[in-house]
Symmetry: C2
DNA sequence: TTAAATAATCGTAATATTGCGATACAATAG
DNA sequence: CTATTGTATCGCAATATTACGATTATTTAA
């Protein structure tokens, strides 16, 4: 008990939930915004910009990478992260699909 | 240590993260889809449709309600849930805003 | 080679989430 | 009033997340 019963739900619902989970922390939202603001990507500058330790930032980056939303390029002693365009759009489509499903069925409540 | 440092981030980023968190579980995604599919809303039928116990469903509904995404109307001994249109659109706008920020700055990576 | 810089990982602690059974509560039916 | 139905809440156990300091690579610079 306690573990999420992912198996019991559709692949699509799990994907949506997975992308949502990646966005479900303000630090990760802030990181993504930073990556977008600087049209080129950054690395440990994120650590300077956010109020979290290096190791914590590193973990958040790892999660965003695991979700597929970002990529990391090793450049010498630094690592350069950026949005993964393809997955970013995939996430956008899935989440938007969920939201627009509502407009389709303009149901009124109870 | 271990608690999320919400205070350290912007209100907006926290809102985005909050909505995302509500969508970050396949059961909640499934619930929202059900509420939309039946243009009118349901209640404990959700329990019959999903592979989770009544108490677990109830908790997920509570979270969705806390996030503002759904409303619940007591109807006799039953409770009828439905999407909260206003908050739903607010969530949609915030999340879309995040996604489209990328298109604006067609940055290429590293 | 050695030192410095940068990032990833490990270990640990605190807290949050997920899930369920049992129980409590509310409203209707009889 | 009492029984039934439908839902919420409580208490617990299992697991996951968040955060950090310390350590471990890894690569460049000296």
């Amino acid at each position: 008990m306690g573990a999420t019963k992912s198996d019991e739900f559709s692949v699509k619902d799990n994907k949506i939930a997975g992308y949502a989970k990646a966005l479900a922390h303000p630090a990760r939202v802030a990181i993504l915004k930073l990556l977008m603001k600087r049209q080129a990507c950054i690395c440990g500058d994120i650590v300077d910009e956010l109020p979290l330790s290096q190791s914590t930032i590193s973990q958040h980056l790892k999660e965003l990478k695991a979700a597929g939303l970002i990529q990391g390029d090793v450049e010498g002693t630094k690592v350069c992260y950026c949005i993964d365009e393809k997955e970013w759009h995939a996430a956008q489509e899935l989440l938007m699909g969920l939201f627009t499903t509502y407009d389709a069925s303009k149901g009124k409540c109870c």
